[in-house]
Symmetry: C2
Subunit: 159 residues, 2 copies
DNA sequence: GTATCTGCAAACCCTTTGCAATAAG
DNA sequence: CTTATTGCAAAGGGTTTGCAGATAC
């Protein structure tokens, strides 16, 4: 389950034409081929998903068009390389992903009880990132901030 | 590889007697038994390790005393529960751990090229954590901040 | 036409688990 | 003595991979 309490962002609307074209261009530039499987995967992510794991994506795609998990696993590194996707913290021992394209950078609050994910923005993290990298001579490519605990709903529930 | 550039902390020195006794007490309090395997694992972590994965711990223990991986896997939840260990981000698809006991809270810089881990402290993260939790009605149990990129050594290397 | 991509199933790797033997309390 | 813990080996679950057939270009 994913809950956005602050900074709710609507999924990119109807015209994914532009985003899809960008992905196709990315593929061609790298010498990869534009296949219907890759397009179906990219479209599904762009249109439907903020957070997901491979199984969720597989089941949802499978219900519309035949596809194998292997193709999904093989497409994911491309999607990440293209800037469409990012890996997120693992929960229950397997990898989860989130759409990056068309969303602003954000951090996560994770409820240990109901496993909901809440999102928030904290712009000061970017400054902190810069400062630390300057101090350490590091060239940053990204950061992640995460808080875990018990969400307000679960706190008031009879457990 | 783990590199501590800032806030270098020496491993707890010779007298682990106190820490080990705390662990034994923890076990007894919960009705768990104090076995030589559990003691060997705890001692090895307290004395040698900041970051490690199960295989490293297994090989190092194995060279001194007979032990099975199963026992290590079964001991880890206890070590975490006792406050001695914490899970850290996974790298290469499997779990890594770090010693918590006797170390101050810190964050990680991860080099994508040489896979070194650098550590730093950023006390303002605690304030940020508090503020976000207040806003969202969340009861925090911990946070994690991580930066990835290229470390200074790798930046100056050929290629 | 040719090289890449797909689907399938087998292989992999880390982790967990069932069971009989061992050892802690 | 009783019951938790161990070691082993087998099972699990997510991910990767070899290969033959399909398909993008």
């Amino acid at each position: 389950m994913v809950v956005s309490r602050s900074k709710v962002e609507p999924p990119p609307s109807g015209e994914l034409v532009e985003e899809m074209e960008a992905f196709r261009t990315f593929l061609r530039d790298r010498g990869y081929r534009v296949t219907k499987e890759r397009e179906a995967i990219a479209k599904s992510i762009l249109r439907n998903r903020d957070h997901f794991d491979v199984d969720e994506l597989f089941l949802s795609l499978r219900s519309k068009t035949p596809i194998s998990k292997a193709s999904i696993y093989r497409a994911i590194p491309l999607l990440i390389e293209s800037g469409l996707l990012a890996e997120v913290y693992l929960e229950n021992g397997h990898m989860h992903y989130e759409r990056v394209y068309g969303r602003e950078h954000h951090s996560h609050l994770r409820c240990l009880k109901c496993h909901s994910i809440f999102e928030f923005s904290a712009p000061e993290l970017t400054n902190l990132e810069k400062r630390i990298c300057r101090q350490e001579g590091f060239k940053s490519q990204g950061h992640k901030f995460e808080i875990w605990g018990i969400c307000s709903v679960c706190q008031t529930e009879n457990s």
